[in-house]
Assembly symmetry: C2
């Protein structure tokens, strides 16, 4: 058994996970990311102890603890090199954690952990498995032969920051035209707002007024109800996602491309046009093709993947 | 010792290569790609026999023959699944070759071979080595832990067909906006022609008239002589190259990115602005960065890499 901790900007979620990636029990507490990091670490350890106690697990049965954290992580050292969401720089997270709970501790990037979690449960042992998550940003993780691929420096993969439109929309990373600046839910909301202004008669305006906000679902709901402007936004969004996926596919030819993040709950309504575009535009015309699937674990992926770091 | 054969659309180039990737001797003959494939195979074997005889090598010293071929290759089967340049479809190249010269034969994509050649001689043992070649198209190969990375289906990597400008220039592959449609020498010539029309007073027109053609060098020569339109084209070309390299770097974080193809002879004049852009725009700000270098083997890379397939 392992403990997996998903350290997010809003919540710390932790779970006891078995060898096969099943969550035995889980709990979460607010991160309150602005307080001193030491307090966050103490709460992570406290949460782990509670899980051990409440589940009736013996301390000896827990073989280690894995932590998924946003930002740049030095996996070898267990150090958070830099994180923006939970302010840390060159913070030896594994070392600090062990002061409260002395077990083997591994730390990795949260998207890498989510990829490993999704791979463990739904990867079917694929040699080359790519996980892409569409959320506030676009993240991803690549699992090669069952292991997280980190590049030579540990900073791979940042799938959201491949170029989609050179010189295009400004991305949060500072570069112009990143995939994330088009395929994230943040970008979808931006494009929805723009279309709402351009087409004041669009149903998107009524939906947003009813909900009191524009969300990633606004255009989808309008589109499904026959709204032309909404359909245009959804089509364009699918095309942005698809053109980035074609890049990934043409580059590394993964057996499975798993799409996660809240917007993936739109399922085939979103993914079928993506699949059609990728199938028509992928370079590979003669060999077996990548399968594009929706991720299934949602928030559990991070906990499971973090736990699998220590397996 | 190994024999490496670089089967190109114009020439068949072959060489005897030692364990360390040194070419002992080499020869080439025209491909004449329109004739029956069987004749091409026979000539490849004939060339190999001549190399063995003329170099005074014993037949037993040759441990195998590697062939680099454009197109989609099934490495496991030694089959050319599809090649456009040298018309072949589902052609069992290794099997046919052995009829003329019975030695172990391996076949792989020509860009993969060039990557392996460049890695063998100039890769310094990097765990993650990316080779990009800028020519008629944009090709590439990825060497992970000393081995060619082929994806799950053998079709990786097609670096030229990652998206650079979604919905942009039509690529030869059928998709719009591929990196190749901007960063290949073919694209550079197209953009040079367009600028020559737009700026009839540009020095590029004089240079092209003198040379009797527009080439990849036209804009570079004009730029180096202070021609503003030429400088604009070179700057734009460097930016296209750089924005694709940022994609590759952000995705897989290679230790070395080696740039080959004839245009790489422009050296630092081309690569310094590329390096500046990548350094300023790469996502990774905290870990060691990829080194961008010019490839050094040029046409020999394909022969050496093909030979290394059988090592």
């Amino acid at each position: 058994m392992y403990i997996g901790i998903d350290l997010g900007g809003t919540n710390i979620a932790a779970g006891i996970v078995d060898e096969n990636g099943n969550i035995i029990c889980s709990k979460s507490v607010p991160t309150e990311s602005e307080r001193p990091t030491e307090e966050i670490v103490r709460d992570m350890a406290e949460l782990s102890k509670q899980l051990i106690a409440e589940s009736g697990t013996e301390h000896e049965e827990i073989k280690g603890i894995g932590i998924g954290c946003p930002g740049t992580i030095d996996f070898e050292k267990g150090e958070v090199v830099y994180s923006n969401n939970i302010p840390m720089a060159h913070f030896p997270l594994a070392e600090h954690f062990k002061k409260y709970l002395n077990l083997p501790v591994k730390v990795d990037n949260d998207a890498n952990c989510a990829a490993l979690g999704e791979y463990t449960v739904n990867g079917g042992g694929a040699d080359c498995f790519l996980f892409i998550t569409l959320g506030t940003g676009v993240g991803g993780g690549l699992i090669l032969n069952g292991k997280i691929f980190r590049g030579f420096n540990g900073a791979a993969i940042e799938a959201g920051h491949i170029t989609l439109i050179s010189g295009g929309e400004k991305c949060t990373c500072g570069k112009e035209g990143c995939w994330e600046a088009y395929a994230s839910v943040t970008a979808l909301i931006r494009d929805t707002r723009r279309a709402m202004e351009q087409y004041p008669e669009s149903m998107m305006n009524t939906i947003a007024e009813r909900d009191g906000k524009v969300s990633g679902r606004t255009a989808f709901e309008a589109a499904k109800n026959g709204d032309e402007a909404g359909q245009k936004i959804v089509e364009q969004y699918a095309r942005y996602i698809a053109d980035g996926i074609v890049s990934c596919e043409n580059f590394i030819q993964p057996e499975i491309i798993s799409i996660g993040g809240g917007i993936s709950r739109e399922g085939d309504y979103l993914l079928n046009p993506v699949r059609d575009y990728v199938s028509a535009n992928g370079f590979n015309k003669f060999m077996p093709k990548s399968r594009i699937v929706t991720a299934k674990l949602f928030n559990d992926a991070g906990i499971i993947g973090a736990a699998m770091l220590v397996k």
